[in-house]
């Protein structure tokens, strides 16, 4: 372990340290505001160490972690998401729960898991990161322990996540049994020279099954709507962004580095998963009346779109796939945070604002929040001026460029269907609130911190939607570093 390696790992270590500091601070003195400030301080420090680490990239910090610009980009995404979620949690938990400080320890360990995943280049760190992420999430989902839905959601997520981890481990074991190495790069080198068809392939499929659970891809999506609905809104925001983007970053790295693109039958499996996710996610979202459930199904569909970009890497080469996946994930994270952020901000007063009725007339009661929600939903729907459109553009271009017309058509159909349910929410907000019992949603003054966070998010969403050029260039140069 050299000094360079330590500096390269600094972002991850700072997050880990922050978790311990926050824990000790809570033990010494239980102060909500102090806890939040310490958490933010830790995250900002970790973000500030990213340039230091970038100077040393690419670098293999032990066999387990590879700190390259790809990893640092996703660590940055995970941490920035963490900052946003912390700010959203601030108002949300301020008036709930007796012991609300611990959520920030869990948040930090979740982010730690995500950061480890983004940089891991070895099955061991892969699994460690994934479990750190998932185990922290169980506790976060079930944090309001006295309520029924969160508890149910937490247990559901824990059980299914455990099953998924078992699949994952079995897959890793199969690969290790056949090839005898655990590092992705070694695996890639060996599979390029020798032909390990059956059991390695089965192993990869098992890994995909395991990750499919965590990414909520069809047919492993059954937990998604219940858990999204049950979890407190800011936690849902975290669950649907950090865990998805970090795990997908890992999946992509695994595919590129371990040479999994060379298995032809794998792209058939992935194509099935992508098509099923897009169709099932979008169609089932049509039947929902609960905003959180609609967003849950929409996230299933969105992950399907990302898988499309992943598949095209086989034809277009990994660089373009990395660029497309990275951009789409950023677009998805920004829009989803915006959408769940509005839900969280509206739920500050007490009950979760999750039924469509709770949003009726929002445009006239609180035009600011309604505009933010509309912008986020339109971004998820992929309408120009928003970052979601550029993301869709990437998915379409990769699909068209790779001549994968089945996938492209599925994306078109999915986007068309998707519009309908996003617009349903928008329409509900447009309806005049005169006829509705507005007492259902107390006109609590919208919390300042949450609103500021959302404003920044929407500014980012529009900026990247109108002027994505510079960001694209950055992703393009970054995409070449992963190989």
């Amino acid at each position: 372990m050299t000094a360079d390696a330590l500096i390269a790992l600094l972002p991850i270590m700072v997050v880990a340290g922050a978790a311990i500091v926050v824990m000790l601070a809570i033990a010494v003195r239980r102060n909500y505001r102090l806890t939040v400030i310490l958490t933010l301080l830790g995250l900002v420090t970790a973000l500030a160490t990213l340039p230091l680490a970038a100077e040393r990239a690419p670098l293999a910090a032990t066999e387990l972690m590879r700190i390259d610009r790809y990893a640092l980009f996703f660590i940055g995404l995970v941490l920035a998401t963490g900052v946003a979620v912390t700010l959203l949690c601030y108002d949300y938990f301020a008036k709930r729960e007796e012991q609300k400080e611990e959520i920030y320890i869990l948040l930090l360990t979740t982010l730690l898991g995500g950061a480890v995943l983004a940089a891991s280049s070895h099955f061991a760190s892969f699994f460690l990161g994934l479990e750190t992420l998932s185990v922290s999430l169980f506790a976060m989902i079930a944090y309001p322990i006295k309520e029924r839905l969160p508890l149910e959601a937490g247990i559901k997520y824990m059980t299914l996540s455990g099953a998924a981890s078992a699949f994952l481990l079995f897959g890793m074991a199969l690969i290790y049994a056949e090839v005898g190495v655990l590092s992705f790069a070694e695996l890639g080198r060996l599979s390029a020279t020798a032909d390990f068809q059956p059991s390695v392939l089965i192993g990869i499929v098992m890994i995909i099954v395991g990750l499919g659970f965590k990414l909520s891809l069809v047919p492993f999506h059954l937990w998604t709507p219940d858990v999204y609905q049950g979890a407190p809104a800011p936690v849902t925001a975290l669950l649907s962004t950090v865990s998805k983007s970090a795990i997908f970053a890992l999946l992509l790295r695994y595919f590129v580095v371990s040479g999994s693109y060379s298995y032809e039958s794998l792209s058939a499996v992935l194509t099935f998963i992508a098509v099923a996710s897009i169709l099932v996610g979008n169609l089932l979202a049509l039947l929902q009346d609960n905003v959180k459930r609609i967003l849950a199904y929409s996230s299933i569909a969105h992950l399907g779109y990302v898988v499309v970009a992943l598949i095209t890497g086989r034809v277009l080469g990994s660089a373009f796939a990395v660029e497309a996946v990275a951009f789409y994930l950023v677009a998805y994270v920004v829009s989803t945070l915006g959408a769940f952020g509005v839900v969280a901000v509206l739920s500050v007063g007490g009950d979760e604002a999750e039924t469509l009725a709770a949003y009726q007339g929002l445009f006239w009661r609180n035009p600011g929040l309604a505009s933010i929600f509309t912008a986020s939903l339109l971004s998820l729907a992929g309408i120009p001026l928003t970052v979601g459109f550029v993301g869709k553009f990437y998915v379409f271009s990769s699909g068209v460029n790779a001549d994968l017309w089945l996938l492209v058509w599925t994306v078109v159909i999915g986007s068309g269907v998707g519009l309908y349910y996003y617009l349903r929410i928008v329409l509900a907000m447009m309806k005049s609130a005169d006829g509705v019992a507005t007492a259902a949603v107390p006109a609590a003054p919208a919390p300042l911190v949450g609103c500021l966070t959302l404003t920044v998010l929407v500014a980012l969403l529009l900026w990247l939607g109108v002027y994505p050029g510079a960001f694209m260039e950055m992703l393009q140069s970054l995409s070449k570093t992963l190989s």
Partner: protein, 133 residues
């Protein structure tokens, strides 16, 4: 192919285990005599009819203790792993294990200070603090 032949004994052994267990569990059912009395399925405890339920509610603190055991005692396993390779791992290993132990101590301090090791109920605590003052 070599692999498959090597597996044969294992498969046969596995099958044999299944057969033996099946026979051991199945035969008594067929051969043994049955009696159906009122107290047949009751546990025998020195001739006294048992009272109450077997489902006793333990204090939740027992579960906490179990979890603490998992956390702290099992983490000690890592210390063994380090101790075995003490010389090879050198100073770097030493620093790392110090960090590790520090994290464990921090966790212990946290548990102690938030009162997770305190077995009193909330009411008892309140009463006691009144007495002390």
């Amino acid at each position: 192919m070599a692999q498959t032949t090597a597996l044969w004994p294992l498969i046969i052994y596995f099958a044999a285990v299944l057969v033996v267990v099946g026979v051991m569990l199945g035969l008594p059912n067929l051969l043994g005599q049955r009696s159906r009395g009122k107290a047949t399925v009751e546990p025998f405890e020195s001739g006294i009819v048992p009272v109450g339920d077997t489902k006793i509610r333990f204090s939740v603190q027992f579960y906490l203790i179990a979890i603490f055991f998992v956390i702290f005692d099992l983490e000690a396993v890592y210390l063994f792993a380090w101790a075995v390779a003490f010389r090879e791992s050198g100073w770097a290993g030493f620093i790392e294990i110090v960090v590790f132990i520090f994290v464990l101590i921090a966790a212990l301090a946290y548990l102690w200070l938030i009162g997770a090791l305190d077995w009193r109920t909330r009411r008892q605590r309140r009463v006691e603090s009144k007495i002390n003052n």
